[in-house]
C-alpha cells in the first residue's frame, strides 16, 4: 500500500462536489462517499476510515465492533482440505460460519453450501441436492460435499471485476472490498463454485448475535447491494487461529494450514492422501482440496 504524495483522489472529488460531500467527509461517524481504492490508501488513511467505520457500527448496532486490518504474514500461503469420507453433512460448519462471519439472517446468506450426492453417481452436480434434511444425516447411499470459496490460484471472479473490488491477497485469500464493489455481479456469473453471494436486501442480524471480532476485508457487517463470500475466516487465520468451520466440525473432516510450512496439517494431507479439486478442467487451481481420508 502506497502513500499518495499529492492531493488524493478523494480530496479532489470532495473539492469538486463541494459542501454536501465535504460534510460527509468530515462527519466522523460516516464512511465518506468519495475515497481511494483500498490498495492505494496509506496506513493512516485506512486507520482513519476504520475508526469511522467502527463509530458507524456503534451507532447502528450499539456494539463495539472491532474492525481489524491485519495484513498477510510473510511466508504464509493458506490452503484448505476437506475429507469427504468423513463429512456427514450435518451443516454445523454452515451455521458456525453464519455466526462467526456475521452473515445476514434475513434474508439468509450462507457462505458454505453442502451438497448431498448419490454414492453411485460420484460427484455429479446435476443430481446434487442442497436442500436435504440435516437431522437425518448421513442418509443411506449418499455422501456430502461442502462447497465454499475455493480461493483459486487463478480466480475468474477477480479477472472479471470491472472495478478491481476483489483481489487475491499475498497469502492466497481472495477478498472483497465491500465499500468498493458496485454490485454488478459479474463475479457471481464467473465463479464456477457458486461461492459468491449478493446482498439482495439490507442484511439483518440481531445486534446481540453480532461477532465483534471482525476484519476490514472479512466479516465486518456488509451493506446491501454488494457481493460477499468466504474469506478463510481472515480475522482468525491471520492471527494464527483456525477458521470457525474447522473448529466446529464434529468429525474432523476439515483441515487448514500454511502450504509453505512442511510440518503443517495441510502438507501432511497433500503428502499422504489422494486429493482432488473441483472442476479441474477450468484451470482455476483451487486452494481448497478434497480427499478421501478413510
Amino acid at each position: 500500500m502506497t502513500a499518495t504524495a499529492g492531493p488524493t483522489r478523494r480530496d479532489f472529488l470532495c473539492a469538486v462536489v463541494g459542501c454536501a460531500a465535504a460534510a460527509s467527509c468530515t462527519d466522523p461517524t460516516h464512511t465518506p462517499f468519495f475515497r481511494d481504492h483500498l490498495l492505494e490508501m496509506s496506513p493512516a488513511e485506512i486507520a482513519e476510515m476504520v475508526a469511522r467505520m467502527e463509530a458507524e457500527y456503534r451507532e447502528r448496532f450499539g456494539r463495539d465492533i472491532k474492525v481489524g486490518t491485519q495484513g498477510p504474514r510473510e511466508g504464509v500461503q493458506f490452503a484448505y482440505a476437506l475429507d469427504i469420507a468423513r463429512c456427514v453433512g450435518c451443516r454445523r460448519c454452515v451455521y458456525a460460519c453464519v455466526d462467526e462471519n456475521n452473515q445476514s439472517r434475513d434474508p439468509q446468506i450462507q457462505w458454505i453450501r453442502v451438497l448431498e450426492m448419490d454414492k453411485d453417481r460420484g460427484i455429479d452436480f446435476e443430481h446434487a441436492n442442497p436442500y436435504y434434511e440435516a437431522d437425518e444425516v448421513p442418509r443411506q447411499g449418499h455422501f456430502y460435499l461442502p462447497v465454499a470459496c475455493q480461493h483459486c490460484e487463478n480466480p475468474p471472479c477477480v479477472k472479471t471485476c470491472p472495478v478491481s473490488a476483489t483481489w487475491k491477497e499475498p497469502d492466497g485469500i481472495v477478498v472483497i472490498d465491500y465499500d468498493w464493489c458496485i454490485g454488478c455481479r459479474c463475479c457471481v456469473s464467473a465463479c464456477p463454485y457458486g461461492a459468491r453471494h449478493f446482498n439482495w436486501r439490507e442484511p439483518t442480524i440481531p445486534p446481540e448475535e453480532i461477532n465483534e471480532h471482525t476484519h476490514l476485508l472479512g466479516n465486518r457487517p456488509r451493506p446491501k447491494g454488494v457481493v460477499e463470500k468466504c474469506t478463510f475466516c481472515i480475522h482468525r487465520t491471520r492471527e494464527g487461529r483456525y477458521p470457525a468451520c474447522v473448529e466446529v466440525c464434529p468429525v474432523g473432516a476439515r483441515k487448514f494450514g500454511n502450504l509453505l510450512d512442511p510440518n503443517s496439517e495441510i502438507r501432511e494431507v497433500l503428502r499422504s492422501k489422494r486429493v482432488f479439486v473441483l472442476k479441474t478442467e477450468l484451470r482455476t487451481y483451487p486452494r481448497f482440496f478434497y480427499f478421501y481420508g478413510l
Binding site: R9, F12, L13, F33, H37, P107, R113, L115, D124, F125, E126, H127, A128, P130, V147, P156, K159, T160, C161, P162, V163, S164, A165, W180, C181, I182, G183, C184, R185, C186, V188, S189, A190, C191, P192, Y193, G194, R196, H197, F198, N199, W200, R201, E202, P223, K224, G225, V226, V227, K279, L282
Partner: protein, 414 residues
Amino acid sequence: MQTIRQFFRFTLGSLKIVLRGGLLYWTWVICLLALIGTGIVAYLHQLHGGLGTTSMRDQCSWGLYIGNFTFLVGVAAAAVLLVIPAYVYQWKPIKEVAILGELLAIAAIAMCGLFVMVDVGRPDRVWHLIPYLGTLHLPSSLLAWDVVVLNGYLALNFVIVTYMLFRYFRGKQPIKWVFTPLVLLSVPWAIGIHTVTAFLYNGLPARPFWNASILAPRFLASAFCSGPAVLLVLMQLLRKFTRFEIPDAAIWKIAELMAYAMFVNLFLLGAEVFKEFYSNTEHLIHMQYMFIGVDGHTAIVPYMWLSVAASIVAFILFLVPATRRNVFTLNLGCALIYIGVYLEKGMGLVIPGLTPDTLGEIYEYFPSHSELIISAGIFSVGFLLFTLMVKVATPIMLGEFRSESSDAPSTPAA
C-alpha cells in the same frame, strides 16, 4: 460568436418543434411519460428495498435487465451498420439513413446505460468505473471494456449526428473529409460493441452455455435482424407523415438483407442445437432447460418456442419477394423479428446460461412485476428520446428548419 448564437437559436428552435405536434404525437408522448413515471416510482422502491424486489437471486443473478441491455446493444450496433448497404447500393437518402441509424443508436445506448444502472446493487458507486477517479479494471475485465466501447460509441454517434444536423441547420453540407471518416469509424465500432458484449458472456468458462465461440457471431447475426426492423418501421412512418422520400426499393432491399441475416441467425442456432444434443454432455442441460424444461421446470420454454417460430415465419416473409413487398406482411415480419430476437436475447441468452447454476441447482427465474415496470419505463425513455430526436432531425434534413441567417445561398462545401 456567431456559431454560439446560431447554436442557441438551434436549441430554441428544436424546443419549439418538440412542443408542436398533433393529437397522435401528444398521445404518444404522454403515454411514454406516464410509463416513465411509473418506472421511476418502481425504481425508487427497488432502490430502497434492494434488488430483492426483482426475481433475481444468487442462483440466477442476472435477468431481464441484463437481457434487455444485451438486446439493445444489438439494436445500437445494427442501426449504424445500415450505413453499409446504404453505401453499397447507393441509396439516395444515404446520409439520412445514416443519421436515423445513429439517432437510434444513441437512444439504444442510453437505454443500455439505464439498464446497467438499474441492475447494479450500488448505483451510487458507478463512478468507480471512471478511470483516474475510480479503478476501471483494464485490460482483464470484459465489463470494463464494454464500458469503454459503449461510451465511445455513444460519443462518436453523438458527435456525428450533432455535426451533420448543425451543418444542415446552417444551410451547409457536411464537409466530406470530416464526416466520412467518422461514419466509417462508426461501422467497425458498431461491430466492436456487440462483439465485446458477447465476449462479456463468452469469457466465462464457468457457464458452458455462453462459453461457445459461436456466441459473438450469433450476437451479430441477431442484431442485424432486430436493428433494421426498428428502422424499417420508422422509415415507413416518416414517409407517411413527412415529405421524406424513401424509395420502396430501399425498404425492400433492407428486408431482403434481413432475411439473409435471419438465415445466418437460425443456422448458427441450429449448429448450436446440433452440437449440444448430439454430443449429449452435461452441458446439454442448459439448452434442455431452454427448449424442453428440466424436471418439470418449464417457465421459459413456451417463450423460447415462440421466439423460434416468430423468427422462422419472419424469415419466410422476408425471403419471399411478394410478402416483403406487401405493406402488411412486411410490418408483420418486422414485429415477428422484433419478438423473436427480443425473446432470444432478452431471456434465451441470460436465463438458460445461468440455469441450472454452477452447482446444479435449478432456480426458476421469471421477471417480477417491478422488473417489468422498470424495464417498460426505460424503454419509454428510449422511445421518447428517439421520438424527440427524430422530430427535430426530420425538418432539418428536409430543409424546413434552418437558421435564419442562412437564407443566403448555401455553398456545398468541399
